[in-house]
């Protein structure tokens, strides 16, 4: 490892993205994929499990309405008189009556106060009930896919700090914690440091793996402070506040671990631009102890620091 330069980082190495960060704050890539049609890029399952909840429920409500509209039309086409209606007071609109019958069929509710007569209506009802089961099976899978997706919602400190470290030395520090009650085990971290250099008149973005004092912990119980020692091997050793900005430096932090609730490997990323690096500051202590000796960690102050 040893603060190794990465020649191909998976990101673009040419510095066309001068002035833009490589990774967004939420950890997603800031590089657009061009030259592909919508369907080349589109992945239905990905879209459905990763869209927002209200979008998801709006989508399935829309699909529910569409299917019922289609089948209601089918029942009307086959003849509304083929839907026997035992109600004394009927819904006046033929289409609405067919629509409600369709919902009763698609959901396999089947009150039976309306029922199909004749082969045509019966065939349509048989198909609709079958499609209802299919849709519902799909829905079950999608919902499970959605809420069983591990979401490693780690809290990262707002800033990365250049802090005093050991005797007479400094370290680049980021603090993080798991706000949730779930357990993260075998957690490992990596720092990827990137900046722009001028090579033969061309701006090139370089990438370096930064050494960490501790790369992996067995269980993340309280908070964890990641420390990259700014020793003679560090690519950051000669950087100042100004040169960091000039070179458009960016620190990418990637955390991986095993979530014991979801029983899956999870990973999360964030990035710090040079504006988010604070020099000569250190994180405040957030461990507290109550009178009965119980230890707590004050995660509301995770990002707090004092200048030194």
């Amino acid at each position: 490892m040893n603060n190794q330069e990465i020649k191909d980082s998976g990101f673009s190495d040419k510095a066309e993205n001068q002035g833009n960060r490589v990774l967004k704050k939420d950890g997603s890539s800031n590089i657009q994929k061009l030259g592909l049609s919508f369907f080349d890029r589109f992945d239905l399952y990905h879209s459905l499990v990763s869209m927002k909840s209200w979008q998801f429920f709006a989508t399935i409500l829309f699909v529910y309405l569409m299917i019922n509209l289609i089948f209601a039309t089918g029942f009307v086409l086959v003849g509304i008189d083929k839907l026997y209606d035992s109600n004394v007071v009927k819904v006046e609109s033929d289409f609405l009556r067919a629509f409600f019958f369709s919902t009763q069929t698609l959901t396999t509710l089947g009150y039976g106060q309306m029922s199909p007569t004749g082969i045509g209506a019966n065939v349509i009802a048989s198909i609709e009930a079958f499609i209802g089961l299919l849709m519902f099976a799909l829905l079950t899978g999608l919902l499970y896919g959605r809420f069983s997706r591990p979401k490693a919602k780690l809290m990262f400190s707002t800033n990365a700090l250049i802090s005093p470290y050991l005797e007479n030395s400094k370290g680049l520090m980021v603090r993080l914690a798991n706000p949730k009650n779930s357990n993260l085990i075998n957690v490992n971290a990596s720092f990827l440091f990137s900046y722009i250099v001028i090579d033969k008149g061309e701006k090139i973005r370089k990438y370096f793996n930064l050494d960490l004092e501790i790369k992996e912990i067995k269980i993340m119980a309280a908070s964890w402070t990641l420390v990259h020692p700014l020793d003679e091997n560090s690519p950051l050793k000669t950087f100042t506040r100004e040169s960091l900005r000039e070179s458009n430096a960016e620190l990418i932090v990637q955390i991986e671990g095993y979530d014991e609730t979801y029983n899956q490997q999870v990973s999360t990323r964030t990035s710090y631009t040079c504006d988010e690096v604070v020099f000569d500051a250190k994180f405040v202590r957030i461990l507290k102890h109550s009178e009965d000796g119980q230890v707590g960690v004050d995660l509301g102050r995770l990002s707090e620091f004092t200048t030194v």
Copy 2:
């Protein structure tokens, strides 16, 4: 490895938790998370899959009742006369009648002895049946999520022992077994040893990885005795019964393996405080052989030891 000190263990390193163990006996963290609102810490899926069975079933029964109450109210508001009831002897209470109709709709039972008439009641029934399918899809996913969670319920010996080991040497030993009929393969273990030192007048909790004689086994068929040799490299070599207690020492044992029933990586932890370490004792032999040569292991006596 070599009995390495861990500078950041994921636990608090300041000894405010003097007098309290770092890890509870059941392997969960003993550090409270403060400074966060309930919703920052809350993870609905985590809560629902990890709560006790009776809590889970009470929760879904409560949700079932609530949804029916809401829709029953809806049917009453739209007009109870819109629910046609073919029964000769009707349930007298209008609300109860609406409630029972609601249960028949939400579960997509749809007897049809009661049925909606008019647009309003039909719309509500269509929505309720759709929500019924949604709820049920969620329930299916949650139940699967609950019972497909691997529970590596390993048995650990009640005490950790300081036992004779090899010629003229001693070892820190913990015995464990898998009581279930499932197979655990590629099982690996780690010992994390923690105690408090006084550094510049401040109490600091230190953490050390302890070497193990065998760290990984291919398959855990019978019991497994973990052995940390108390040789010259061991951080425990100078400890006595008294100094262990004074320094608030704690041994954290973490086991990971692959469960062939659940097809998932599982892990489990426990901890031994100084009070749970027994000096100069050794585990009794628990392998038995029946007359036909069949070998058995008596897990009821897993924790038994004799003093030496």
Copy 3:
């Protein structure tokens, strides 16, 4: 690695199982777990997903009948006259009528030719439909759990062979293949060799990891022959046919890989007792080529060998 001795194999190390193999041919452990109650050992999910198909379907049919019997009894107790029956020709037996009504309710079928009247019967029906949904949700999860379990059904050669290997040398060889159309990738193998020695008059079973010529392949397309070279480092180098039998030797083969159909890590094991080791034989060639140059591998002859 280097043909390392394993001091704790997870199996019993005392040779009480003299005359019995450590691992059964199907890869399951041959050691019984004693001293635990049935419920200590019992894992409901494990039992339900690993039992045979006919047992599983018999179990759920039994549960279906039991639940219906219980609810039928409930309906009879509340008064069979509370089940309104519109049929002209009714089922004569009151209990059978209640039973069929119960099946229509539990499955949320709800024909409605029978329907509950009165609060008591309606409450029971509401509960039964809810339990029906719960049962069905459980069933969905169990069925998914059952058929999504990866079954790495590898074929192993019937015998392990001591074959000529390189110039003037020999190797212990086992041949295996994946009979299924699924892809196994990143497949790795290990040989565990075990035999009994007399140490201070006591029979002790020893375990050794055997070196393999190739331990991992990227993809298992055709067959794979595992080779342990019988060089000067091999624990087997001094063994003869007779001493293998006397020392109750056993070869345990464990294969792990990633199944691309099930998208899960899978593992499988088998064992060869000394009686299943053939000296001075080699596997026949099973690669075939058709006239158009297409290559095939004749897995029907996987175990065939010729003596040399």
Copy 4:
């Protein structure tokens, strides 16, 4: 690693497949499995989750029809008069009437305009509703199994190039990208190079692992160019266009990574025959920057190269 020769690759090592590639372009094996019956090779779950969508839906529609035909026959055998039909205008065909009743029962629709009378018809209906639930539970699991399967649909460049690399050197290069919006992390790559040599008059296919400049990247955001340096250690260093063809050379590329949408490890493979290797060419630059500094990668031109 060091460009190591692989003695057992999992593929056939004898060159009977002269003139045929080892791996098909889509990454599946080109070796047939012979000597096994259909059922030895058949895996129902594998077939159902990996068949094409239209095949899958045709299969379940077929099963739906078959089950209904069987139960319709059952109802006819037990006596069509046992199916009470309240419709004024009935479906004339007895069998069709039984068929539609069967669909209403199997899907648990249960309109109730037709209902069973008598013990025989009630028993059949009870069983059919139960089987309906079972079928539907299976369907839910299969659909989830189908769409939760990660499909690492990576784009590979059409050709592998021999390109200028560093000062005065060359490299074997393949370019790839993830066209989807999903994230691939911890992506690693391997090159397996295979060619045929004449050993003692017999054609033998040899396999070599080729060194890669970068073997693993943390996240695949844009495109990734795999580079095997053609230095003195490379097995390719003496190859020319002609000798590659004569020796039937083939380059197998395997990519593995973790898909954050599906939360699973995924892998994909492809192969390049000698005809797909282009000498003295280099990939065109596909990074673009818009006026606002946003970076994009033009994946439509992934395979484009210029000769040098």
